[in-house]
Symmetry: C2
């Protein structure tokens, strides 16, 4: 007799026999009978042990405990109307067991699977137990559904899935590499790829025209809660394309994923916003557009007022901006506002000025600095209404934007303005080509060194590179960067200018990227692409805010695998073969 899955019980006639395999989810003993919820990959169903049917099966059932693995054979019957379990798809049926076998016993699990109050480290140590949790089961299946939808779409569009190497080469641009010592080549190392960027461009030079890959990438960075040392990218590249073409195709891709995975129709095209607008109006380069509360620029207004803090900030090249928290003035005590001030200080703001508005006008510590006409002007500029709270930061633009942009997001969360079931996609375009790297003390590529400048800005590379805008675009969903890409440089002379603008000497450039510049000499098609962070995409689709929920075997924020105890020490012989030794710096 062949095993049926629980959900196949629907196809079995009442009175017919079924063989089920699965785990004991719950046991109840009642009136000499034993009732067990048997769970498998497809669901669960009640199976009943009745002494009138089989005394032996009942005896075995009496030894069953939670998570035992069993095989049960019995007759499918319909439950009394009054007994139907309305919370279960198969709650109207049950199986009267004739024969049962214990396939595996189970010790008491280290924690209750359904218990939400378990320390995450314990759950990670026993990940195989936690993986049985319905939520994780659902999320990892949703992840597969997502990649399947992506593949379907790209396959239909004639993209070729091509694997690129993991044992790659270390390049100093970008984040820190994970290194792999070579045994054969003494003193040399491979690097795990941070992305297949160079390979995918070489595939374009190799004439493949349309490439994709869903692939692991690696960055040895200090981890934050939403980062993992290895992460998965949906990597796409296309020849004979431009920004419009890439955006249009990716909108169709996302629309297909949303339909297949969430059953949702998204409205195309997505809105677009320049990088400058995003920064000015939302303070961040990945605006959450599910709610309003935009940044209002009060710099011009501030020039005209007597309030010295505002006035002098603007006179010294800074800006003054404010957000309006609608209808919340009465909810925020001084103490609450002090907490918000502490929050913006994380972003280097020196303080958070505030005003409340009601029918008598503005109140608050700085109200006195504004005369009647100024208050009236402010009211109009901010469109304030009864019971609104206004929060101001005056500083250099980067501080104002970071402070108010992040405060805006925090307030939306605190005030419950975020609807998990709303998906607001927005393209951010016209990125700067360069950004200043404090650590390196020089300009670096904002995206990567292969991103092309806007045609009209090519001349700026040699004159005023920091003013150049890039043919780069990010797709943002609900305040998260879902993916980003660019149209690449396909002209070797322009690429050389780019490296020069980045401060590379000819020697450095040739050492690191010589082969690539050479490659572009043999006929390079115009090309561009995009890469999505799959983990984050799935996180948003699944409605979780824990990145570890979307990864079967995640690492902690110190990049440890608590289950396997990895990383771990290795033998002296292994290190000798690799011609390396450990430098002890701590005891």
């Amino acid at each position: 007799m062949k095993r049926s899955l629980v959900n196949e019980i629907k196809n079995i006639e009442i009175g017919e026999k079924i063989k089920l395999n699965g785990w004991v989810q719950r046991r109840r003993d009642l009136g000499g009978l034993i009732f067990i919820d048997l769970r498998d990959v497809s669901g669960f169903v009640q199976i009943v042990f009745n002494p009138d049917v089989s005394k032996e099966a009942l005896r075995t059932a009496d030894t069953l405990r939670t998570e035992f693995v069993i095989e049960a054979i019995g007759e499918v019957v319909r439950r009394d109307e009054s007994q139907v379990n309305k919370n279960n798809e198969f709650g109207h049926l049950e199986v009267i067991v004739e024969d049962v076998t214990i396939l595996s016993k189970a010790a008491t699990p280290p924690f209750q699977i359904s218990d939400d109050n378990i320390n995450e480290d314990i759950k990670l140590k026993y990940r195989y137990v936690d993986l049985k949790r319905q939520e994780l089961q659902n999320i990892l299946r949703l992840r597969h559904k997502t990649t399947k939808a992506v593949r379907e779409f790209l396959d239909n569009e004639m993209f070729v899935d091509i694997e690129t190497p993991f044992l790659s080469k270390s390049t100093p641009e970008g984040a820190r590499d994970y290194l792999v010592p070579s045994r054969i080549h003494e003193g040399e190392f491979y690097a795990l790829p941070q992305s297949p960027q160079i390979y995918k461009q070489l595939l374009m030079l190799g004439g493949f025209e349309r490439y994709y890959q869903i692939v692991k990438c690696f960055r040895d960075e200090d981890l934050r809660a939403d980062r993992q040392p290895e992460f998965t990218q949906i990597d796409i590249e296309k020849s004979f394309t431009d920004q419009e073409d890439i955006i249009e195709m990716n909108e169709r891709l996302i629309s297909h994923v949303m339909k297949e995975v969430k059953g949702l129709d998204v409205l195309l095209p997505f809105p677009r916003m320049t990088y400058d607008t995003a920064m000015n109006e939302y303070g961040v380069d990945k605006p959450d557009t599910r709610f309003d509360m935009k940044l209002n620029d009060l710099s011009d207004f501030s020039k005209t007022v007597d309030f010295k803090v505002f006035k002098s900030t603007v006179e010294n090249g800074g800006v003054v901006k404010a957000i309006v928290v609608k209808n919340q003035a009465s909810e925020y005590s001084r103490k609450n506002i002090d907490q918000l001030e502490a929050f913006v200080k994380n972003y280097d703001a020196k303080g958070l000025a505030w005003l409340k508005y009601n029918e008598e006008g503005f109140t608050g510590p700085i109200a006195k600095f504004f005369g009647e006409s100024e208050q009236s002007e402010l009211k109009n500029l901010l469109n304030v209404e009864e019971n609104d709270l206004v929060l101001f930061v005056a500083d250099k633009p980067s501080v104002v934007h970071a402070s108010l942009g992040n405060l805006r997001n925090k307030l939306a969360k605190d005030l419950g303005l975020l609807d998990k079931n709303q998906y607001n996609f927005v393209w951010i375009t016209d990125w700067p080509l360069f950004e200043y790297d404090e650590e390196r003390g020089r300009y670096i590529a904002a995206h990567h060194p292969f991103t092309s400048p806007k045609k009209e800005d090519e001349g700026l590379l040699e004159t005023d590179p920091t003013k150049a805008k890039a043919n780069a675009y990010d797709i943002v969903l609900n305040g998260y960067e879902l993916g980003g890409g660019s149209i690449r440089i396909s002209n070797p002379e322009l690429q050389e200018k780019m490296f020069k603008a980045l401060g590379f000497s000819d020697e450095e450039r040739d050492k690191q990227f010589g082969f690539l510049i050479e490659a572009f000499k043999y006929g390079a098609p115009p090309h561009g692409g995009i890469a999505y962070g799959l983990d984050r995409f799935v996180m948003l689709l699944a409605g979780t805010d824990n990145i570890r929920d979307v990864i079967a075997f995640p690492k902690t924020t110190s990049a440890s695998d608590l289950m396997m105890k990895s990383p771990s020490t290795v033998s002296k012989e292994q290190l000798e073969e690799l011609n390396i030794e450990i430098i002890k710096t701590k005891e």
Copy 2:
């Protein structure tokens, strides 16, 4: 105007305009006109520059050279019947160019793409040029078609694609690991996975029941021609299964792939052969069954003859076997046979005895040792006919099998007996559970330590482990191991016995696999699976015998990437951050 692909020209009305993008494949100048074959991802078509249509386009055309990237707009016309290029799908059409733009110039490539006589190292250095070769284009597309067919099948069977970690843990069982130093955990290392074996078993414990992944794996072994340091596995695991179920499902999987990729119907079920039969009759554990020439066991016969070499070999526990090369006696001179003898000496054979058969009977140096009745018996045992060549090896079984098994394959190749278009699948079953590892001086798991013994052999683990057979199976195609798997141990006590039989102390076992044995205590479903070597599978489907042909960016046999020059030296700072330094052993 939107770009069309070359193959979309079929859908365009004669007289309509088309915009094409692609590479200059060939140029001919004739009677004041210029003819160019324009190639893109979908094919190539002739485009014509005529001064009567556009003098400017003709002037640009005159500057075009091979591999220039261009955009051309023009009218689609039908070629004269006499001019049709019958070697091209679109040879009956051409485009009269009105406007042409050079998108990229191209330097003369470092070698002619179509030249087969280029040193492979040069081709690997300029891989992006070689990738334009039609054969590589086709193979990498066939690779994608293969993975697509595999995914389709497994998705339909409710398998879940789940990603497992790359930053994993080093385990001394198995091949040599690639190590990755940890920056955060001083003196500790990750290892790149040799396979996701442990993870996929944990997913079964975690209740996923059906898992697959198409995933890179890593082995730092000395490379042979058909090995790469990183290779791709189709990895499959299933719960509540047994050997029959796995074999049946994988036959349907392979059948689906053969249909989708090659358009072939394969006959199911595949033949099966025990490991012992394969070794006895084919000398190898991956028999090529496309041709006969099996090994004949003459050990019993040898006991009865006066030929001392044969007789004493058998008396000392060895065997005598022979293969019959049909109808080739006259083609093999003494010198040819000496070459075959040199070949078997690679497999430690001390010599290769031979006889030829024709109407007068057996001839050859050892014929004199056999009397008339013995010759007659030999004739019957070997079924020899006129002009057959018989080749004998007498030695211990492992030497006889390796010598004759590999000689059999070599002869088939030399004699052209191998039909590339014939696909002979065969399951090899009933593998030994252990094999002797000369280097370690102890028994190791023939498959891996999680493979279950045959039910009836479980007792042997504690008494005579080397006699135990495993629930293991390999799928062999045309003499290559395509994949292999087993039903795993799901009982923690049996797993502990297995580690004991492998010579692990309790301490070693707990250190390396403690978490796994622990994991099995919380309710382990019976499970098993298989893993295919994708690179080899694609190699066979593509009919190439160079593994580098099926990999976009392969490494050399010294594990180097000649294009990127990887591995490479890294900075002192990078090593310091990882707390390691290089030991110099050479100057």
